[in-house]
Amino acid sequence: MRVLTTFLWYLLLICGAILMLLPFAWMILTSLQPATTTLTMPTNWLPRTLQWVNYQHVWQLAPFTRYWLNSLLVTTTTTLGQLFSSLLAAFAFTHLQFYGRRFLFGLLVALMLVPGELLLIPNFVTIAQLHWVNTYAALIIPWLASVFMVVTLHQAFQSQPRSLYYAAHIDGASDWQYLWHILVPTNRPIITAVAVLQVIASWNAFMWPLIMTNSEQFRTLPVGLMAFTSEQGTNYPLLMAASVCVILPLLILYVCLQKYLMLGITQSRWKGSTQ
């Protein structure tokens, strides 16, 4: 019985996994096609000769190194900053008593619902007034807060036994120390999860960096992808090669961080011997 259900679960997961994997596989395969044979699939979607040169072209066609460094800088700083501000806020909502707590929280949740497109231009005006156009500040500072992250973290923090907070207090930890020494390490999986989500969002951000910066110097990878489409058509293999270059670092990061995402499972007390 148990074997059967396990088998069924595997079957389900594998089917789903194929669906998830397929488009990605297509991306990689396309990126290795010569330009002229694209889109004549599916008959020969395994190219006879793999065009690794596509990747070389990608790197030549646009200043990808620069983009890459910018993306790296923007992503790390926004993620860290966002984590910082969100952790503080989530902590305050979880453990501190203050006037207007529920109201403020409700308000923040409401802000989660604001369509971003609507805010783009007013924000650009603000950025311009701050003289931040074409600076890293424009790419980073507005993203240092995320309501979604606050809500998620708050939710996770709430399910932690309160006695830990009390114990830490008695042990002489201030709120600040409790936050960093106890709350953060014990919630590593969820924190890693939201951080990863943020990394991806910020790595893939397109409109914002495009609007907020004017010169190549500050452009990020997704903006770089523009080089491969034009008004008249798209060079699919190159675009896909470039896309792979954009996505790959994220995947690697994700695989590396998975250890933390799964922490809850591996640390459970009855590991190994549980059925």
Binding site: T6, T126, S159, L239, Y254, Q258, G264
Partner: protein
């Protein structure tokens, strides 16, 4: 602590903790939002010179009479009410599966996360390839099953469906990760007692996992609904910059985009943004209320 009441001092301290968040949201979300709200009431407004002709409901009246807006509203609601439940349910099933199987969980998790990692541009193209009429993967498979091919992307009757599929596909990984994080927070001991108490797998799920997961589920449902309300990128990429064949997949966000950036009808765009915001807010309230009710029904504290 256990029974502390808020005081001025504690409020000041909390505000210090909240300061980074509040400052940034005030400047970059609240302020522009107010701006948009104001703008939605301007009539004969010169966006660039900031000349306001009059103040009134004209923009909302415009929306009220605009068949395109109606279409966008219909499509968006359809998208939300189909894509959101499907995404959440699938994500939950997958997360439960991943949480259950002893081996390869990580491997699968990575794969399910792929769609979320993939940038929207690439996703659009890939799905374009899957859905296309000639040589599209989906149609090729359908043909094997003896079903005549469907022009998913150019048939106005099915284009929205295609968009829904893409949205579900793309939102899945993110929600799986969130669900997994939620599942991990449930102490294994509850599963053990429940098993001892004679609960079978399904009962364990409905009576223990589900109620304990409920807070996370609320979050996911609301977030997914909000995301689906704001679908734009996916449609833009999937339909090559159009809102589907003959506008058949026009979403509210797409409408807003067109009004703002293409038609230069800034005030109408702002008004549609306000409508969108109110709708999402309403839906969120409903969701929240529903789950509160359910939670109470399941016997939990509210």
């Amino acid at each position: 602590m256990l029974n502390t009441k808020p005081t001025l001092k504690s409020t000041r301290k909390a505000l210090l903790y909240l300061a980074p968040l509040l400052i940034i949201t005030l400047v970059f979300t609240v302020w522009p939002l107010i701006h948009a709200l104001l703008m939605s009431s301007y009539v004969r407004y010169n966006y660039f010179t900031n000349h306001v002709g009059a103040i009134g409901w004209a923009n909302f009246a415009y929306l009220w009479h605009d068949p395109l807006f109606h279409l966008a509203l219909r499509n968006t609601l359809c998208l939300v009410f189909v894509a959101m439940p499907v995404t959440v349910a699938l994500a939950l099933v997958i997360a439960l599966g991943l949480n259950r199987i002893p081996r390869l969980a990580r491997f699968f998790q990575t794969i399910y996360f792929l769609p979320f990692v993939t940038a929207t541009i690439a996703t659009g193209l890939v799905w374009n390839w899957i859905f296309r009429l000639d040589g599209g993967l989906l149609n090729a498979s359908l043909q094997h099953l003896g079903i005549s091919p469907i022009d998913w992307l150019n048939d106005p009757h099915v284009a929205l469906l295609a968009l829904i599929v893409v949205c579900v596909w793309q939102g899945l990984g993110f929600n799986v990760v969130l669900f997994l994080a939620g599942l991990n927070r449930i102490d294994a001991k509850y599963m053990r007692v429940a098993q001892l108490d004679g609960a079978n797998a399904w009962q364990r799920f409905t009576n223990v996992t589900w109620p304990l997961l409920l807070p996370m589920t609320v979050l996911i449902v609301i977030n997914t609904a909000v995301t689906n309300f704001k679908v734009f990128d996916q449609a833009f990429a999937l339909f090559h910059g159009a809102a589907g064949p003959g506008n058949s997949a026009l979403t509210l966000m797409f409408y807003l985009y067109q009004k703002f950036y293409v038609d230069n009808q800034f005030t109408v765009a702002a008004a549609s943004g306000v409508v969108l915001f109110c709708l999402v807010g309403l839906l969120t309230l409903l969701t929240y209320g529903y789950f509160r009710w359910q939670r109470r029904r399941l016997g939990g504290r509210s």
